[in-house]
């Protein structure tokens, strides 16, 4: 019995071993053909068609490329899905990277320096890319990503609904130089009071979790999450307190901003204003109501604009780094970059021309100048930090203390700093 038993174990191990070795995944490289894979957080049909088109064109001149795959991952958990792929040893060759993760990815050495390829490619015109847009991705003699979308936050609004509620039109307020957060709150309040079920303002990407987007509000009040070097928490500043007190009263006093757990859809027509980016607004022209767009309101301290950014990068753990970098350079050269303008505000200076933007997007020339050109020159990109993944969870759970009617704002903001200061160090 015993010997038989041992034999069985031996046989079992042998089977297990064969199974382990037998399923080593086959390498994609065969006969000089390479398959590239790029992860992205959009599943928008237009975005996919755009990249597919560029990839098809590239394949014509590069027979070694068998295929270029675009993999849409869920935006809300994008970074986690991407890093799990990397940690699992199955890193994609190229990836979209969010501005907030830029420093952490660089600190962990995950992004490949593509400056050599960019410089050695004739007609790439690296110096055409605005220095401000490249900031997060640049080190001396190094470029770690091409910022294909440098997209200012703006206030899109439902002109019909605002008019019906008797409030003043945001564009008219802006023209008078009175487009401030205080006046925006008044417009929002009027829309809310006008009819039950209406909201004055919403902010879909914030959703009480992605707090770094709140920079769109707090910067006007002169606040920041931490100092420039990322070593000192500034959530407990007077300015932050002012900003959050203002925002809190919109939610709980005016009730003009949807409270947590309440759904609201600007495009359904019962929300007055929406704090969104241009790339999200593509369906506006199909709406039955008249819409408008203005930059972020002025705050009591600053006329600050906030910009979200997305970079396209080659990962150091890619198995086809050279091929991936070559494709990146092709996909972001001046001709192809021009194709993005319909969806993503470019960081190449000739493409920031309002005339070019007006031609490609839903904005007219005046709007394009105000929102995109001025926005990018005046604005700052959202906050990033080398330890963002630990920080953002701590901040999120602590900031939850704010989202109730009787919140102690000063105390909560102090708590945020107590929590994250040890991480920032």
């Amino acid at each position: 019995m015993k010997a038989k038993y041992l034999k069985m174990i031996a046989a079992g191990s042998a089977i297990a071993l064969v199974a382990f070795i037998g399923v080593q995944p086959a390498k994609a490289v065969a006969n000089g053909s390479i398959t590239l894979r790029m992860t992205m957080w959009s599943s928008n049909a237009g975005h996919l068609a755009l990249f597919k088109g560029i990839a098809d064109e590239y394949k014509k001149t590069h027979p070694e490329i068998a295929d270029i795959k675009f993999e849409s991952l869920d935006f809300a958990t994008y970074t986690q899905l991407l890093t799990t792929q990397i940690a699992g040893g199955k890193a994609p060759d190229l990836a979209w990277i969010l501005e907030k993760d830029a420093q952490q990815f660089r600190a962990n050495n995950l992004l490949l320096n593509v400056q050599p390829q960019m410089e050695s490619t004739p007609g790439y015109k690296l110096d055409e890319i605005a220095a401000g847009s490249l900031g997060l991705w640049r080190a001396p003699r190094s470029v770690y990503a091409y910022p294909f979308s440098t997209s200012p936050f703006a206030i899109f609004y439902n002109a019909d609904l605002i008019k019906a509620s008797g409030a003043e039109d945001p564009e008219a307020l802006r023209a008078k130089g009175e487009w401030t957060w205080a006046n925006a709150a008044k417009v929002a309040k009027a829309v809310t009071d006008y009819q039950k079920g209406n909201y004055g303002l919403n902010f879909p990407t914030f959703n009480y979790t992605t707090w770094n987007g709140l920079a769109a509000i707090w910067r006007g009040f002169g606040a920041e999450a931490w100092n420039k070097t990322g070593t000192t928490c500034t959530f407990d500043s007077k300015q932050m307190n002012n900003a959050m007190t203002f925002f809190h009263s919109m939610i709980y006093k005016d009730k003009s901003f949807p409270a947590p757990g309440v759904s609201s859809d600007f495009f359904a027509g019962n929300v007055g204003m929406s704090l969104i980016q241009l790339s999200r607004a593509a369906s506006l022209p199909t709406m039955k109501w008249k819409w408008g767009v203005v930059p972020l309101p002025k705050g009591p301290v600053a006329d600050a604009q906030a910009i979200g950014q997305a970079g396209m990068a080659v990962l150091t753990k890619s198995k086809n780094r050279k091929a991936a970098a070559d494709f990146l350079v092709f996909a972001t050269n001046p001709e192809n970059a021009a194709k993005y303008v319909a969806f993503f505000p470019s960081s190449r200076t000739p493409l920031m021309d309002p005339k070019v933007i007006a031609k490609a997007s839903i904005l007219n020339e005046a709007q394009a100048k105000l929102i995109v050109a001025d926005g990018i020159s005046k604005g700052q990109i959202l906050t990033s930090h080398p330890k963002i993944s630990s920080i953002e969870l701590s901040v999120k759970s602590t900031l939850d203390g704010l989202w109730k009617a009787d919140a102690n704002i000063a105390q909560t903001l102090n708590d945020v700093c107590t929590k994250i200061q040890p991480i920032l160090r």
């Binding site: 069985m8 990397i86 995950l110 757990g261 309440v262 759904s263």
Partner: protein, 279 residues
């Protein structure tokens, strides 16, 4: 013949448990590839980590509510459905049906139902009740996670109890009826002792399950608001796969392991006091 299971056990249970203990004395970040032996640092950090302490508390609260509610309701339904009336198989099927729905699907649907402007509050509103914001206003988020889990898995325990109840010989009731015992006395004196081994096993399984709750937390509340629904299993996941601090996550996992094993051994030790027959 037991070899495959034993082999699987060695590779997928024994080896991982031993390595998680070893890993808990290291720091390892799979993104950058940095790894180092750091002694008991993870454990010193753990005792000082206020979050971890709150998380441990939440885990206990969750288990302490879930286990009694789940078992009491399951036993109650099993007793009802062990009676003789038309339609009892249909009701058994109804209470069992969430078991076959995946936890993720079940949770997604409940997340919508529990929204502040969702159907529950709508119907409460019709009845003149201003329902709370279930997933935001304490203590409702924790209650919601518990109840979603209870409805999901109750059916399985109900069936286990039903099987046990059907094993109670009818003669025992008959003789006690002659002695003039009422229903409640019968239940206490005959039914409960007879099915006590099943109660013990169901308790052990339900408690072990309570410490593994993950999808419900991730999808319903994301551990919030604040940390109010962050339980140990979820906190391990976050540390391991969002922050990629595998060493610290391993130390937390060791704690969870000690927790579950300790509770099981304790239950096993006190079983002689209340379990009527040997299992």
């Amino acid at each position: 013949m037991a070899a495959p299971v034993l082999l699987g056990f060695i590779f997928l249970v024994l080896y991982p448990v031993l390595s998680v203990i070893r890993d808990s004395f290291t720091s390892y970040n799979p993104l950058s590839g940095d790894a180092a032996y750091i002694g008991a640092d993870n454990y010193t950090r753990l005792v000082q980590d206020e979050t971890a302490i709150e998380v441990a508390k939440n885990t206990l609260i969750f288990a302490c509510i879930l286990v009694p509610v789940n078992m009491a309701l399951a036993l109650f339904l099993a007793v009802l459905l062990n009676m003789h009336f038309k339609g009892r198989t249909t009701f058994r099927a109804i209470f069992f049906s969430p078991v076959i729905v995946s936890t993720v699907a079940w949770t997604i649907v409940w997340k919508y139902i529990l929204q502040d402007d969702g159907p529950i509050n709508y119907f409460l509103g019709l009845a003149g009740v201003d329902g709370p914001n279930w997933l935001r206003d304490n203590p409702w988020p924790m209650m919601s996670v518990v109840m979603v889990q209870v409805f999901k898995n109750l059916g399985m325990n109900m069936i286990f109890f039903l099987a046990a109840l059907q094993g109670v010989p009818e003669e025992m009731y008959e003789s006690s009826e002659i002695d003039g015992a009422n229903r409640w006395q019968q239940f206490k004196k005959i039914t409960l002792p007879f099915i006590s081994p099943t109660i013990l096993l169901v308790a052990i399984l339900t408690i072990a399950g309570a410490f593994q709750v993950f999808a419900q937390v991730l999808l319903l509340t994301g551990g919030g608001p604040g940390l109010s629904t962050t339980v140990l299993s979820y906190y391990i996941f976050i540390n391991a796969f969002q922050i990629f601090d595998l060493g610290y996550a391993s130390a937390l996992a060791v704690c969870l392991f000690v927790f579950v094993m300790g509770l099981t051994v304790a239950q096993w030790q006190i079983r002689t006091r209340w379990v009527f027959r040997e299992v």
